[in-house]
């Protein structure tokens, strides 16, 4: 099923999305703001990733505006079905002209609603680079709480950087979602 929320639909990754995904993973601006690998990714490697990723252990969706334009992807990885937890990630790459107000808020809240109310997860968590203020802010807006600082976990651009650990429980989400619905619709 697709996840339809506000200005976006969240849908499965298709082969036709691979060039966009490759562009995102190779984008220096995104690399600076995210945790993860920093090697250049070839299209061949991107295809092999797509053919091999385990759709039972991870949920990855494209964020598509209802205009038809894809602006990024959102994912739950490390899904722990026993403890009902998962690691949340989100990336956006789009021009100013293609973006819409509240698009990533819609994406996150729609995705979290699915995580808690369809997958029956209890806690979704993540990490964000301390200096990535926009992502931290979006997470806070979606109800995630900053739990602590993971010191000097990431090396980028010649320096070690802190990560901020954050999370949202189902109880937190109920409150955040009510607020979101009231403000947004």
């Amino acid at each position: 099923m697709i996840i339809d929320n506000g200005s976006v639909i969240l849908r499965a990754i298709e082969k036709t999305d691979l060039p966009f995904l490759q562009k995102m993973i190779n984008d220096p601006g995104i690399e600076k703001m995210t945790v993860g690998g920093c090697f250049p990714v070839s299209f061949d490697r991107q295809e092999r990733w797509f053919e091999n990723y385990d759709q039972q252990k991870e949920l990855r969706c494209m964020i598509q505006l209802k205009t038809g334009i894809c602006i990024g992807c959102i994912m739950l990885t490390d899904i722990d079905w026993k403890n009902r937890t998962a690691l949340l990630g989100e990336k956006t790459l789009a021009s100013k002209e293609d973006r819409q107000e509240n698009d990533t808020w819609d994406a996150m809240m729609g995705f979290l609603n699915y995580a808690f109310n369809e997958l029956n997860l209890n806690c979704v968590y993540g990490t964000v680079l301390e200096y990535n203020y926009l992502s931290r802010k979006l997470a806070l807006k979606c109800g995630l709480k900053e739990e602590g600082i993971l010191r000097e976990r990431i090396y980028k651009n010649g320096k070690f950087h802190n990560l901020i650990a954050n999370s949202i429980t189902k109880d937190d989400f109920i409150i955040a979602y009510a607020k979101y619905r009231k403000e947004r619709f």
Partner: protein, 82 residues
């Protein structure tokens, strides 16, 4: 119009705020309306107004009203602070 006035006008336009609010406390984290879409709009208007193209690192580092002023000096845009 001075560079400061131009700079302030952009902030006022993007964030719908009064000039009095434009100070050291005006940051990405403190301003509710400052999200990624507003950020792109802010950068775009600054680039257009001052005829510059900001480097990706500077776009990412542009995290406050005051920080923006120091970033713009790299592009020979001098803004006299409030």
């Amino acid at each position: 119009m001075s560079n400061l006035d131009k700079y302030n006008n952009i902030f006022q336009e993007v964030f719908s705020v009064a000039k009095e609010n434009l100070n050291a406390d005006f940051t990405i984290l403190s301003v509710e309306k400052w999200d990624s879409v507003a950020h792109m709009e802010l950068i775009s208007k600054i680039e257009d107004e001052f005829g510059i193209m900001l480097d990706t690192n500077d776009i990412i580092d542009f995290s406050s009203y005051i920080k923006g002023i120091s970033i713009l000096t790299k592009y020979s845009v001098d803004i006299e602070e409030n």
